[in-house]
Amino acid sequence: MNDYPQILFKNRVVGETAFIDRFRANGGYQGLEKGLREMTPQEITATVKASGLRGRGGAGFPTGVKWSFFPADQPVEKFLVINGDEMEPGTYKDRQLLLADPHQLIEGVILSAFALQVSHAYIFIRYAYEECSRNLEQAIAEAKEAGYLGRDILGTGWDLEIHLHRSAGRYILGEETAQLNGIEGVRPNPRSKPPFPAAKGLWGKPTNVNNIETIACIPHIITGGPGWFINLGITQGGVGTKLFGLSGHLNRTECFELPVGIPLREVVETFGGGVRNGKGFKACLPGGASTPFLTAQHLDTPMDFEPLEQLDSRFGTAGVTVFDETTCMVGATLNLIRFFARESCGWCTPCRDGLSFVQWILEEIEAGRGNRDQIAMLKDQKKNITGRSFCALAEGAMGPLDGLLRHFEQELEDHVKLGRCPFGD
């Protein structure tokens, strides 16, 4: 069914994990050999920069640019942190990657660590991903055994140790600076930026934080070259492939590797198998719980950073959650806001108290106790929370509310007018 090139899912057999033998048999660790034997760290960074790879964790910051800010050539202790705290509702791509092919990440970590000239890399993994953690532990042990980790790797004179850190399990740990606090063992409130982690990160040392999927792309970019990687995308400016995690009211809720720029309609209809039970498509979250809703009129949008930003939404993690026509969008938004309000770390006021206030307003409206003033309050809460919080959590939480207010204000009005939810329970 999926005729698109499979890069990250090359070795994926659902229900199985590719460990070192199958990984190597399929060309694994060739990028590593090439990178470490034939390239300088600067060349690797330049190649990643040339590939146009953008971070796969949600924010989409160009990876090569981030690396070029990193003081790789300075003889100080520095760290690489791999963010595997995949906790956004609707996002489960990293899990699929680690279940299928953990060595791909390890190879990417080694190449990235070499490019950044760090000797200690931390893989920060979500609390619930115990099976992934065990896969990684085995992969790290195998890589060490094979001489890809440890001292003087491939005769370069460079050492690397990979540490696996299991999260204590809160969404805020996905925020990079909160994650650094989490690794340090202190309360995971986000840190103020500046100083950015590249200057003062883990234990005050320069630190680079990247998403799992981002790092997994690195060996392929090194092996295939930036031109090849760019051409994997099918929109102008869209590069590479992306893991799409489908969920919600679809016939098939699975994870697919698809080219960046694929139209949303194709994702929903071809890969998701269309909306289940023959219902109509009402809306979707295009890239995880923090991205504003898209509606049926947006189905022909290419799934890429720029086109989605033009619709005031975001590509995010490409975790596509679909809602059918019987869904109450007020209830759906309330459900998402509950998650974000619950996961606020409690550091800043807009997030800690603002989100629970929004939750209360939505609860009142959803329960039929709302009034028109409260719809106005929602707008003004959104305005005053967005961009006013300490980190991006509250801003992300405002994503679905923003979509609700832009596309489904009528549903809010209907709740108020009817004094109940028009969609029943």
Binding site: R170, I172, R187, S192, A341, R342, E343, S344, C345, G346, W347, C348, T349, P350, R352, D353, G354, L355, S356, F357, W360, E363, E364, M377, D380, Q381, N384, G387, R388, S389, F390
Partner: protein, 793 residues
């Protein structure tokens, strides 16, 4: 020095100033909670939003998180900024219980002020509020978590600034709990600062609970009288009762915080046994009669034995004004030169320090800025608690701390501690200069060489000494070391005005000389001004005082000497009158009187409503400032101007008259004079067969004023003798066992406590007031015998 414009007003600020601070300098009030000058900016409350209109930063920003830069044009009144502020306040108030009428913070509540300033006037949230079960946090602080607005100031103060680890933030989202893991007494000796930093009524002063509203309290900036550091405090009184003490701000000394002894040790002023009327031979009388009686008795002594038969003992507890008049009084009448400290060791230590400190003087602010601290015989948490906080701030900035002390010195920060015998302090000091430590064991040599090496490398090194343990010889050696190493020096002294007394003593006689003279019958009349020779003086003081014909005591507290006075004249307690102290770094710090003395209404009203009869006489209002008593005797005007004028003719005290209470004070200039030569008493040692006992100060229970405070009773330590486990094992004593301790004069039963961090072979005990331990000299070695049990006592 960037120049920026806020609300069309231009200001130039030092590099690194944030925009909130710049606005404050312009007098613009911006609501804020999480920012605190001592704690810094963290950007959590999101209240100090300003609109950055032009310049390097644009848009709505949190002013505390933006460093002031050239060309910034900022509006605090921009509609978006005001709108956000009103929202932030609304969010903070969602769960607030609105219980201002029953909240102790009401009237001095930053949340009340900021709610009004932030423009939030109408509650829109109609849901349920989050509520908490509060914890019992011990005798000092009340917790009412429902009022919390989650500004994190408490945890940043308690953990980050003060180094406490039994209080913190738990939970997440809008269910944050700021407290202890389990209910219980807050362990930090700085716990009371929670009361000051909490912007609302979550943490309030338990000793002040439900007593007074802010607008009814009488306050004045003052200087803490409980140690030599001179922290600025603000005592507050109502109905003639001293009801609380809160921290004042002095960026050179205490910064923004004080210790719990300073905050909760105020009960001495309200003490029920305080004698508030002049009396002669135990019979209450009027001031007029008492003073006439005094003149008559004194005249008789002078006529019969000459003026040199009159001696004066002043005190480090007295104000500089009182001390100055004492000296004038003796000069005018030809009496013996006054003493300002009856404890000879402390007297000589203070005089040696004052004579030589000069350019080596450092403030606590400079200690916090030091990159290398070497502590010698100093136990800050017990002797001068705020010093420990200054040291902690230095460590947070990367300073290395070395501590040489026989005691198990505990600090709220990392430090390398080497337990040494008291007599090893002197060779250690001299060794630091010469970088030679032959007298030490090999392992200790390495430790000391490391310290000397760091000291040599440091840019802003400071030697920190404890005057009690160093004594005059140690202090002199430390002074020389500081000069030769080009290091700063900070030595803690015995009392709040030890330094002032030392300057005024000049090269006059010491207490040994006076006691000898008294024993030989040369002294017939003794004036004790806020001094207690029977407790603080050498053991033979009792014999010396027994030979007097006239003992006059002026004091505000009841003590041994006061009880045996022929004539007793009540003086005001420190918060009841203005004055000046000179702290241990030589800083002149004036203080104001917060209220007039009088018997607290609570004590005469029997718990009822304040009386509604009016009288122009204050019950119990007789106490007078000690300086005023002396001015009366000297027939001088009752004002400070003439005293200050007289003092300023001495160049040390230049600028004294220009200082005002609550300010940063001013260092005395030049150096004082050395005391007369004396037999060296350092190194200490104990005779064969006995054990050396070192009596030292403790945080609670040993300082004379605060030990009278009922609020501190629950935290006064047990009467114990501390010893190293190996010493205990040698004596067959186990931890917690009752032991019998016998000195030449005393015999007491104590609990033995083993302490692995202290030096072996030594016994350490706190000089607890109200126990026989209070009679033992501080800092000196007392030979003693220690046995198991103690049933024979």
């Amino acid at each position: 020095m960037p120049t920026l414009t806020i609300d069309n007003k231009s200001i130039t600020v030092p590099d690194g100033t944030n925009v909130l601070e710049a606005a404050q300098r312009l007098g613009i009030v911006i609501p804020h909670f999480c920012y605190h000058e001592a704690l810094g900016a963290v950007g959590a409350c999101r209240l100090c939003a300003m609109m950055f209109e032009e310049g390097p930063v644009k848009g709505l920003q949190m002013a505390c998180m933006v460093t002031a830069q050239d060309g910034m044009q900022i509006s605090t009144l921009h509609p978006e900024a005001q709108e956000l502020r009103s929202h932030v306040i609304e969010w903070m108030m969602l769960n607030h219980p609105h219980d201002c009428p029953v909240c102790d913070e009401g009237g001095e509540c930053q949340l009340q002020d900021m709610t009004i300033a932030g423009g939030h006037g109408r509650r829109r949230y109609a849901g349920k509020k989050r509520t908490w079960i509060n914890q019992d946090l011990g005798p000092f602080v009340v917790q009412e978590m429902n009022r919390c607005i989650q500004c994190y100031r408490c945890v940043r103060t308690y953990q980050d600034y003060c180094g406490g680890d039994d209080f913190g933030v738990m939970g997440s989202r809008n269910r944050l709990f700021f407290g202890r893991f389990q209910p219980g007494k807050l362990e930090s000796p700085f716990s009371g600062n929670l009361v000051d930093v909490c912007p609302t009524g979550v943490f309030t002063d338990k000793t002040f609970r439900f007593k007074t509203r802010y607008w009814d309290i009488e306050e004045a900036p003052a200087v803490c009288p409980h140690c030599s550091l001179g922290c600025t405090v603000i005592p507050g009184a109502r109905y003639r009762e001293l009801q609380r003490v809160r921290a004042g701000v002095n960026r050179q000394t205490n910064g923004f915080f004080i210790c719990d002894r300073s905050r909760f040790g105020y009960g001495y002023a309200n003490h029920r046994e305080r004698i508030r009327q002049p009396n002669c031979q135990g019979a209450a009388t009027s001031w007029r009669e008492a003073l006439e009686h005094l003149k008559e008795r004194l005249g008789k002594v002078v006529n019969e034995y000459g003026p040199l038969s009159v001696a004066i003992v002043g005190s480090p507890r007295s104000s500089l004004e009182c001390q100055a008049l004492l000296r004038e009084w003796t000069r005018e009448h030809g009496y013996r030169p006054p003493l300002f400290e009856i404890d000879n060791r402390r007297d000589r230590t203070a005089r040696i320090l004052a004579a030589g400190l000069g350019k080596q003087a450092r403030s606590m602010a400079e200690i916090a800025d030091s990159d290398c601290l070497v502590m010698l015989g100093s136990d800050p948490l017990n002797e001068a608690p705020l010093l420990a906080l200054a040291i902690r701030q230095a460590v947070r900035n990367g300073c290395h701390v070395t501590c040489l002390d026989p005691r198990a010195v505990k600090l709220p920060c990392a430090a390398s501690h080497l337990p040494v015998q008291p007599e090893q302090l002197l060779p250690a000091i001299n060794g630091l200069v010469a970088n030679r430590f032959e007298e030490f064991e090999r392992q200790d040599q390495l430790f000391l060489e490391g310290a000397a090496e760091r000291l040599g490398r440091a840019e802003r090194p400071v030697l920190v000494g404890g005057g009690d343990l160093l004594g005059p010889e140690g202090t002199e050696a430390l002074l020389k070391a500081a000069r030769s190493l080009n290091a700063g020096l900070f030595v803690t002294l015995g009392g709040p005005n030890s330094y002032g007394g030392a300057l005024l003593s000049e090269d006059g006689p010491d207490s040994e000389e006076m006691i000898e003279a008294a024993l030989e019958g040369e002294i017939k009349a003794l004036f004790c001004i806020e001094a207690d020779p029977l407790t603080e003086g050498p053991a033979r003081s009792a014999r010396a005082l027994g030979q007097l014909e006239l003992l006059v005591v002026c004091d505000h507290m009841v003590n041994r000497t006061a009880r045996s006075a022929d004539i007793f004249l009540p003086t005001t307690a420190p918060p009841e009158a203005a004055g000046t102290y000179i702290n241990n770094e030589g800083r002149m710090l004036p203080f104001g009187g917060a209220y007039a003395p009088g018997l607290p209404l609570r004590d005469i009203g029997e718990g009822g409503h304040p009386p509604r009869t009016f009288s122009n006489i204050t019950t119990g209002g007789e106490p007078r400032p000690a300086w005023a008593i002396l001015a009366t005797l000297l027939q001088r005007p009752l004002d400070f101007d003439s005293i200050h004028h007289g003092l300023e003719s001495d160049p040390h005290f230049a600028g004294l008259g220009l200082l005002s209470p609550g300010g940063e004070g001013r260092r005395v200039t030049d150096a004082g004079m050395l005391p007369p030569a004396a037999q060296p008493e350092f190194p200490h040692s104990a005779p064969e067969g006995s054990l050396p006992l070192l009596v030292v100060e403790a945080l609670f229970g040993t300082e004379p004023l605060s030990s009278l405070s009922p609020a501190l009773e629950p935290v006064i330590p047990e009467a114990a003798v501390q010893l190293h486990p190996t010493t205990a094992a040698r004596l067959g004593i186990s931890d917690g066992e009752t032991v019998s301790l016998r000195t030449e004069l005393e015999h007491l039963r104590l609990t033995a406590r083993t302490e692995a961090e202290m030096v072996p072979g030594l016994l350490v005990a706190y000089r607890l007031r109200g126990t026989p331990l209070e009679l033992l000299p501080v800092g000196k070695i007392t030979p003693c015998l220690l046995e198991k049990g103690g049933n024979d006592a």
